[in-house]
């Protein structure tokens, strides 16, 4: 047990605690706040996995943009009466069963391939070179991911236009 294990447990608690709050909180702004905690925890895991760039981008995009967008949407679509209404729908018990079943299957599968009892020390190959610059090279070299990269930019552009068109107030 080193410092990284302690940090991992800390972040996991943050992630899962936040996740539980996200799906159970009746107050949606609080749920969004919990979502931010979860996203922070995920960023922390990226740091532990030595993907610093991804961690920064996670905070920049997820917390700086998506979470704020979500809070905006919550505030723009809020009715005061909502606070008293239940947060979960009538079939939540079924949903819970499904989720638990999924978890059980996933745990069994993971346990079958990478057993938890394999020890507290993971052995990963050493990281060579600067992974951020390698990521940049991979994203922009034509024989690697330049094409998906461009497609992603087109996707973003069209999503932006679509969002504007959908959400714009119709002028008469």
């Amino acid at each position: 047990m080193g410092i990284s294990h302690v940090l991992f447990i800390l972040f996991s608690v943050l992630i899962l605690g936040g996740g539980v709050m996200v799906v159970t909180r009746r107050n949606l702004v609080q749920a969004a706040g919990a979502l931010i905690l979860t996203l922070f925890g995920v960023a922390g895991l990226y740091v532990l996995l030595e993907a610093g760039f991804l961690a920064a981008v996670q905070i920049l995009i997820y917390i700086g943009a998506i979470a704020i967008l979500i809070i905006f949407a919550v505030m723009l679509t809020r009715r005061l009466a909502d606070e008293q209404e239940p947060g979960l729908n009538s079939q939540w018990a079924w949903a819970l069963g499904t989720a638990v079943m999924a978890l059980a299957i996933l745990v069994i599968v993971i346990q079958g391939t990478w057993p938890l009892a394999g020890g507290v020390v993971g052995n990963a190959p050493p990281l060579t070179g600067d992974s951020t610059s390698r990521l940049g090279v991979a994203l922009l070299s034509p024989e690697q991911y330049a094409f998906p990269f461009e497609v992603a930019s087109v996707l973003l552009l069209s999503a932006m236009l679509g969002a504007i068109v959908i959400a714009r107030e119709k002028r008469h």
Binding site: N27, V29, G33, A56, L60, G64, A65, D130
Partner: protein, 410 residues
């Protein structure tokens, strides 16, 4: 004590301190830990200390701009005015309104300060004096400063006050809008230095500051930085004539002071960032011989830029909100996009700096970049003039048609 070297002041102080710890009989692991703790403490204390001086200085200077004396009661020339202010803020009653969202209400002020102070972790203050030389320093600073937006939103929402919420909406839309040109202009020094690390960017300016290579990028960065900080003329987040006070209307005492503190730290932090990214950071004459001078240059550049900040604040009236948003989306963002594209092309075409080359050999490169920027500036000017002319023509058409009515309305 024989190694104490004034030129390497900070390194020497560090050595002395480490020696002191060794004498205490600590193991090397613990020494590293304690050192990091102390460094973190110092880095946190640094901006908080600076802010005391800047508040005082700003009040004095603004007073002069506005043809009055400014604070002049406490201490010589009123220089100690900040002390009673702080005492007053600390001793004020902390009011928590009813029906607020307790957790968020309390977290928001702290978050707003944390977000700003965290930026100082990657700020290169002097050679080999940097909190942590992250290889993604620039992205880190962007990520961290996006938390300030969150703090404002949370504060506005959790206050359970309509004005606070509206102010938060306005503020967030302002911050989000200006983050786009900010990031786009930031790409230029990153491209020129071909690194995301703040330290590398400073190092890359050894042959000339980036402000010479990319003045337009610097201007965009400075302007959108001003807007990000929310200072005049972009101080809509506390437009007291329109929305009473802003998102922090329900806060009092120390909590209010935290927002206040965060904003002021943010202001000169952006000046520090501008200095680092465009004005060579700690670079200056004789820094290679006397590294300790670096800190001096760094703070000098920061304060000069801050002076410009104050000057703008004292001179410019406040934007209207639609003007402010239009300025970002219709002017800064397109310009920043063009700037990035053109500068990327220029970086590709003009040879990368050869550190061994003589000063004269690098002149064509500088000239090329300056020329490109000049062309862009002229192009921008022409485009803006054309747009303005068309708008005026349209306005004249309208007023020609409804001339009398418009006059009556006015």
């Amino acid at each position: 004590m024989e190694g104490f070297d004034v030129a390497n002041l900070f390194v020497s102080i560090g050595q002395v301190w480490t020696g002191f710890l060794v004498n205490l009989g600590l193991s090397s692991q613990w020494i590293a830990f304690v050192n990091k703790l102390v460094a973190a403490l110092l880095l946190t204390a640094l901006p908080v200390t600076i802010v005391v001086f800047t508040i005082m200085g700003e009040r004095k200077i603004i007073g002069r701009f506005q043809d009055r004396l400014g604070p002049n009661r406490v201490g010589p020339y009123g220089f100690l005015q900040t002390v009673p202010d702080v005492v007053k803020l600390l001793t004020k009653e902390i009011i928590t309104p009813t029906n607020v969202d307790k957790v968020m209400y309390n977290v928001a002020p702290a978050l707003s300060v944390i977000a700003v102070i965290l930026i100082w972790a990657v700020m290169p203050i002097a050679p080999s004096m940097i909190g942590v030389d992250l290889d993604i320093g620039v992205v880190y600073f962007l990520a961290v400063s996006s938390l300030a937006t969150l703090a404002i939103l949370l504060a506005g929402w959790s206050s359970n006050n309509k004005y606070a919420l509206i102010a938060a909406f306005r503020t967030v839309s302002q911050l989000v809008s200006y983050e786009v040109p900010l990031v786009l202009s930031l790409l230029v020094p990153v491209m020129l230095a071909s690194s995301l690390s703040m330290n590398d960017i400073v190092q890359a300016q050894s042959r000339g500051w980036f402000v010479i290579l990319a003045p337009i990028s610097m201007l965009i960065f400075f302007i959108s930085g001003t807007a990000e900080v929310g200072r005049s003329p972009f101080d809509l987040l506390e437009a007291d004539s329109e929305i009473v006070a802003g998102f922090n209307i329900e806060y009092s005492g120390m909590r209010f002071a935290m927002f206040f503190l965060g904003e002021w730290i943010h202001a000169f932090t952006f000046c520090a960032l501008t200095a680092t990214l465009y004005f060579g950071g700690w670079r200056g004459p004789f820094v290679d011989q006397v590294p300790a001078l670096g800190a001096l240059y760094f703070f000098a550049k920061m304060f000069i830029l801050y002076l410009i900040h104050i000057w703008i604040r004292a001179t410019m009236p406040r934007f209207r909100i639609d003007q402010m948003l239009a300025f970002s989306w219709k002017f800064l963002v397109p310009l920043a996009l063009v700037n990035v594209a053109v500068m990327a092309l220029a970086t590709k075409l003009l040879a990368p700096p050869d550190l061994s080359a003589s000063f004269w050999a690098t002149l064509p490169r500088w000239g090329g970049f300056l020329g490109v920027n000049l062309i862009m500036a002229v192009g921008t000017f022409v485009a803006v003039r054309e747009v303005a002319r068309q708008a005026r023509r349209k306005e004249e058409e309208v007023s020609g048609r409804f001339g009398s009515a418009a006059v009556v309305q006015e």
